[in-house]
């Protein structure tokens, strides 16, 4: 199936700003789905609220656009009820890790087979440019006119600590790597987290004099490197890209099946 066939063209044009990275993520995501040859009926995409969350409207899957921060909790219900379905949950940085932080760590702890994608543009775009828990320090935002003092989360470390069994990071510059990582994340049986650095030229870019979309994407190239590369040793400030964790652990729905077997025997 061509990528185009996974889209609901009826609902285009999309609402993302010119230069926004989220469309690139949509492209990478559908590229992965296409490579896997998945049928549209076997995918449920669940999102919360924010620019990123509007992605569900544009894909021709079973789509659930929910409330802010709670996408993973809704997805947990869908997955528990129908474990044979593939759950993909795209979230923004504020959505996933501010208001949704609790659900994020608990979904990771359970190791439920859901693919969580954190589209990290380090800003609240839909509400007009407020700082998020992934903005980090010394960032200008509408709610940080004197620059942020809040340290940011490291999504990779947080996901690892919470027990996610697949953890990866990439950017909108590295579209091939993005497609490949999402493909592997979908195949992974367990909770997978893919952080994708995505540019918001409209708010983050303008506020922080980061240039236009092209400049911001170039920065992703310049400021990141492959995991364990020579460049990282020489420049520890570089952010690593690639798959950090990929391990097999008991998956929640499979474990629940064992509970059912035990309960039925005990009757």
């Amino acid at each position: 199936m061509a990528i185009k066939d996974y889209l609901r063209e009826r609902f285009f044009p999309h609402l993302w700003c010119p230069g926004c990275g989220h469309g690139t993520v949509l492209n990478g995501l559908l590229g992965a789905v296409e490579k896997l040859g998945m049928s549209k009926n076997e995918i449920v995409m669940v999102s919360g609220i924010g620019c990123s969350s509007r992605i569900t409207g544009y894909v021709d899957f079973h789509t659930l656009h929910t409330i802010h921060g709670r996408a993973l909790a809704f997805a947990t219900g869908v997955k528990m009820a129908r474990p044979e379905l593939n759950l993909i949950v795209p979230m923004g940085d504020g959505d996933a890790l501010a208001i949704g932080g609790n659900h994020f760590i608990h979904a990771a702890r359970r190791n439920i087979d859901i693919t969580a994608i954190v589209m990290n543009n380090r800003i609240y775009g839909m509400t007009g440019g407020q700082y998020s828990p992934l903005s980090g320090e010394n960032i200008r935002a509408t709610t940080a006119p004197y620059l942020t003092i809040d340290p940011g989360f490291d999504v990779v470390e947080l996901a690892k600590g919470a027990g996610a069994t697949f953890v990866a990071r990439t950017t909108t510059y590295h579209i091939q790597q993005m497609t490949d990582i999402i493909r592997q994340a979908i195949l992974h049986e367990g909770f997978s987290v893919v952080e994708i650095l995505s540019q918001c030229p409209t708010y983050f870019g303008r506020k922080n004099k980061a240039g236009d979309a092209v400049d911001m994407i170039q920065d992703f190239k310049k400021n990141t490197t492959s995991i364990g590369s020579k460049a990282k040793k020489e420049n520890p400030d570089l952010l690593e890209r690639g798959i950090f964790v990929q391990k097999e652990m008991p998956e929640y729905c499979s474990e629940y099946d064992k509970v059912v077997q035990k309960a039925m025997k005990g009757r």
Partner: protein
């Protein structure tokens, strides 16, 4: 077949009834005084291949329940005041996206953490207006275990019929009291199953296009129809829209589908109402004391009656108006500061004949709390 008789808590009666109604999926979070519902279902649901999950909080519990409902499951969660407060946002979502689910709120004293182990009926108006925005809601209640069973099954039936969340407002007294329950035989109470669309695969299915009778056939997530579900105002495909016509029509539909059926949705019981000179109006555990008094006074020849409401919202105003029309006074008996009394005053022709017999100290309303007020109204003094 011999009948199954149990001696159980109200919470257990509720859990039994949910299973009888065909519960497939339950998500919950521990909170007094509702935990026995969650515990019972943690034990019982896996035995029949159903799904049980303890979530990280009440917010997540209702979200998971809504997600599971979309796959075609009959779903429920149970909580108490503080947890019910946390569920208000996703309750609104279920209303807006028209997703069937049952939410049990075993009321305790509030506000805030309040009185965790004491009874109350203080969440009646929260059930009506807790979530933001104009909307309609169904809220049911019951005063004894047999009724808890039947009204719980009814909650599932109404949720499936009207594609809406239904709130079951129990209270701590009924929830924790033990009494006899005769479990109905399978088939004894009619069960409503979800109305599924008969639209074929590859034909355009409109999840939000009501039929002529107002019902909206559903299609399960994971099935052959792919559609969008959102909490934003949406068109018949479920796609977000801020088109004034779409917004107006959807809100009208959400409110009218329940408010216009208030009469149909009214569940109530009446005792000696026909020739009553004075009427007690009550619900939930408070109705037990009211009923006790009515039976006693009738033995003495006093013309006292009782109207026990089981549907609180949409408020059955026509029925209340009619039953109160010929009595000299109406005493609303409830364990709060008059939440249903306000609705009764709005419903009747003479609001000044409506009085309140209540308690707000965490104590159960005793018959003497009601008789004291009756004496005052009758001009007999304390």
């Amino acid at each position: 077949m011999s009948e199954t008789i149990k001696f159980v808590q109200g919470n257990e009666a509720c859990a039994e009834a949910a299973l009888y109604a065909g519960l497939d999926f339950y998500a919950g979070y521990p909170i007094t005084p509702s935990s026995e519902i969650t515990e019972t279902l943690a034990y019982r649901l896996p035995q029949i291949g159903g799904k049980f999950i303890q979530m990280e909080d009440e917010i997540a519990s209702l979200c998971a329940v809504i997600g599971a409902s979309l796959t075609g499951c009959k779903v429920m969660t149970a909580t108490s005041g503080p947890g019910f407060s946390l569920m208000q946002e996703s309750l609104g979502y279920a209303i807006m996206a028209e997703i069937p689910c049952v939410i049990v709120n075993v009321q305790r004293g509030g506000p805030s953490t309040g009185l965790p182990t004491h009874g109350s009926q203080g969440d009646v108006n929260q059930a009506r207006w807790g979530t933001h925005g104009d909307h309609a809601i169904i809220a049911l209640t019951a005063s004894n275990h047999q009724d808890v069973f039947e009204i719980t099954v009814e909650a599932f039936n109404l949720a499936e019929t009207y594609r809406t969340p239904v709130i079951l407002l129990l209270d701590e007294v009924v929830a924790h009291m033990r009494e006899r329950l005769v479990v109905p035989q399978p088939g004894e109470i009619e069960l409503v199953e979800r109305l599924k669309t008969n639209v074929k695969q590859d034909v355009d299915y409109h999840p939000y296009l009501p039929r002529e009778d107002g019902r909206l056939p559903m299609s399960d997530f994971g099935g052959v129809h792919r559609f969008n579900v959102t909490g934003l105002f949406h068109d018949m495909w479920g796609f977000p829209s801020s088109e004034p016509r779409v917004v107006h029509d959807l809100l009208r539909h959400l409110v009218d589908k329940l408010e216009n059926r208030a009469h149909q949705l009214a569940r109530y019981k009446e005792y000696y109402v026909e020739d009553a000179e004075q009427l007690l109006l009550s619900y939930g555990s408070a109705a037990r004391s009211a009923h006790h008094i009515v039976e006693n006074r009738r033995l003495r020849g006093e013309r006292l009656g009782l109207l026990e409401l089981q549907t609180l919202w949409p408020f059955p105003k026509e029925i209340v108006r009619e039953k109160c029309a010929h009595v000299k006074s109406v005493v609303v008996v409830e364990q709060n500061m008059g939440q249903i009394m306000q609705a009764v005053k709005l419903a009747v022709d003479q609001p000044d004949k409506v009085f309140l017999a209540n308690r707000i100290d965490g104590g159960f309303i005793a018959p003497s709390d009601i008789t004291n007020l009756l004496r005052l109204i009758q001009g007999k003094g304390v």
